[in-house]
């Protein structure tokens, strides 16, 4: 089944190369096919198979896999109105063979003074990750992003409007830029369910807009499939953040995020989860050396309660530090992730708790302009208490070694 999809995606990529030669004006079209040889050493079934393993693949689903088939189109509808869409396929249990991960319009007026305004509407990632900055929200530093950015790729998308304003430093003879950003969104009420049931994970599978994931634990309504991008309580969420960029080399970003879910609301399929967090990140780029650190601290709540805060409350935090060195066409990256969740309320009914670390080492080699070869090792160590409910060991190491061959056109 997956081989048929891989073949179809490869054909799609080949067909695109032909059309790319045509005059496309300002349009940019990127097609990428990512094939993996994967070896997993883990006692757990992957969460993609409905298990409580934190990797995307498991021992029953390794060998040759499709990493991702991706198509991104970006271009101006008018001089200052840009459209951007990404279609993705992962060749696993997706309901659709290929589906959108992002689709948005952005109004980019020419600055008339030192303030740059940007308005974006549609479905897109809020500006939190300092790691996922390549086409299709991929990380240029490794195959697998950090736990924080894995979770954003799984459960979070802005389906709404975002406004940013940037003070352009060089225009006022200053070596820094300052940006403020705010967003209002809906259709993200189930956000929180996965981190509550499974904890943090470390993988590169982005949830598409019209798809979801198997539930590790069946919901009280008997539902077995999580759909993340749904509106349940008719209450919009918001985020507000700031960014400080010094000499285009050092960047500090902070954001407060709140989906303002009403934990007492349930539409039969799912509950609205109240998920809030603060995120802070720092990135330094000194020519070919990149250092990134990000941290996130928040909570999520679900279920009716007398005080309205929720019957279950899960606190979670994570941070990572990453170092990456580029030498010509070669890139070497090392990253350390720390993950933690704990049930603050309702633990007598469902005790969700995770404490884990992950090490990632990646080597990426750009072979010409279109091909990339990457080797990556991930090792996750730690415990997840809810595994014991399913008579699995709470703590065990999970290891992944993968070789990727990527063709981008």
């Amino acid at each position: 089944m997956s081989y048929v999809r891989i073949g179809a995606a490869l054909y799609m990529a080949m067909a695109l190369q032909g059309s790319r030669a045509a005059e496309l004006g300002a349009y940019e079209l990127t097609a990428q096919i990512d094939l993996r040889a994967v070896a997993v050493d883990s006692p757990y079934k992957s969460f993609t198979e409905g298990g409580l393993g934190l990797l995307r693949f498991d021992e029953a689903h390794d060998d040759l896999r499709l990493g991702r088939a991706m198509l991104n189109a970006r271009g101006p509808l008018s001089e200052t109105l840009w459209a951007d869409a990404t279609v993705s396929a992962t060749g696993d249990h997706s309901t659709h063979a290929a589906d959108l991960t992002e689709a948005s319009l952005e109004w980019r007026p020419y600055p008339r003074n030192a303030l740059r305004l940007r308005t974006q509407a549609g479905a897109f990632y809020p500006p939190i990750s300092l790691e996922n900055r390549s086409v299709g929200w991929q990380s240029p530093y490794s195959l697998t992003p950090s736990a924080i950015n894995t979770w954003i790729g799984e459960e979070i998308r802005t389906i709404g409007v975002q406004q940013s304003v940037t003070l352009i430093g060089p225009a006022i003879d200053k070596p820094f830029d300052i940006s403020l950003v705010a967003g209002v969104f809906g259709y993200n009420d189930p956000m929180g369910v996965l981190i509550f049931q499974r904890g943090w994970a470390v993988h590169d599978r982005q949830t598409t807009l019209f798809d979801g994931l198997p539930r590790p634990f069946t919901s009280p309504s008997g539902d077995t499939h999580i759909e993340f991008f749904r509106e349940i309580d008719n209450r919009p969420g918001y985020y507000a953040g700031a960014e400080f960029r010094y000499r285009a080399q050092h960047l500090l970003r902070a954001m407060h995020y709140d989906n303002r879910g009403d934990p007492s609301k349930n539409d039969g399929k799912d509950s609205a989860w109240r998920s809030r967090f603060d995120a802070i990140g720092w990135r330094t780029e000194l020519a070919d050396t990149t250092l990134i650190a990000q941290a996130m601290l928040g909570d999520t709540a679900v279920g009716a309660s007398a005080d309205g805060r929720g019957r279950f409350i899960l606190e979670y935090w994570s941070y990572f530090i990453l170092a990456s060195q580029r030498t010509g066409a070669h890139r070497f990256t090392a990253r350390y992730d720390r993950m933690y969740t704990d049930t603050e309320r309702g633990a007598t009914f469902f005790d969700s708790a995770q404490t884990a670390t992950a090490w990632t080492a990646a080597y990426l080699w750009d072979v010409g302009a279109h091909w990339q070869v990457a080797v990556e090792a991930v090792k996750i160590q730690g415990s997840l208490r809810q595994r014991a409910v399913l008579n699995q060991p709470a703590a065990a190491d999970e290891r992944l070694l993968q070789l990727a061959i990527r063709l981008s056109l």
């Binding site: 300002a26 940019e28 101006p76 980019r108 020419y110 240029p140 225009a171 020519a287």
Partner: protein, 217 residues
């Protein structure tokens, strides 16, 4: 990329020198300028402008500022007022060059496969270039009334040839300095005219990553 940009810049300089030689016959007065940073090393890419007492008439000069790997090349240009600047866009992607600097306001979309008319910089001043698609692209154009100018080389040196035999004012400028060195005057009638500028701080140009895979979210 560095050598490429230097080569392009040098060709612009050669053309400018050639034009200057054709318009005004050689007057023989050369000025050697050096710019020294606080660590005693030569400071590269410092714009040097020599202001004569009387300005010769404007010529129809042209210059080129390319767009290569999401950067303006050269990042710092110095041109005379009235110069027509061509933005060829050497990238396989689109750019939208703009400036809101008082000396020259313009918007110039540069889509692939289409030539765009040059932009004439007709007012003296510092023009900061941006790209509306790639927010981190920044370029600087120093527009001067004088025909005598250049940029220091990697050793911090520059020779400006064929200056009038008179007292001239000399300015040094670099966008990566928070305070510019004071203007100096030099009498070109004295033999071996030399001038040096001592910077109080290091010009700190950002060294950007050149990974083509980074688009930025």
């Amino acid at each position: 990329m560095f050598f490429e940009s230097r080569a392009r810049w040098l060709s612009v300089q050669w053309m400018a020198a050639l034009c200057a030689a054709m318009i005004a016959p050689a007057q023989g007065a050369d000025l050697i300028v050096e710019v020294i940073d606080p660590q005693g090393r030569g400071a590269a890419d410092v714009v040097i402008v020599v202001m004569p007492e009387t300005l010769p008439p404007r010529s129809n000069a042209t210059a080129t500022i390319d767009q290569i790997r999401k950067a303006f090349v050269p990042q710092i240009s110095v041109i005379r007022t009235g110069t027509a600047v061509i933005f060829p866009n050497g990238d396989p992607i689109a750019h939208q060059v703009y400036s809101f600097s008082p000396a020259k306001r313009f918007d110039l979309p540069l889509y692939r496969g289409r030539p765009y008319p040059p932009v004439v910089f007709d007012q003296a001043g510092i023009v900061i270039l941006g790209c509306n698609i790639h927010d981190q692209m920044i370029g600087y154009v120093y527009v001067t009334e004088s025909p005598h100018f250049g940029k220091t080389d990697s050793h911090g040196r520059l020779t400006i040839r064929d200056l009038p035999m008179e007292r001239v004012r000399v300015k040094a400028w670099n966008p990566h300095l928070s305070s510019q060195p004071p203007e100096q005057t030099v009498d070109m009638r004295s033999t071996n005219a030399r001038l040096s500028f001592r910077l109080e701080q290091l010009p700190r140009a950002p060294r950007k990553t050149t990974d083509p895979r980074i688009r930025d979210y």
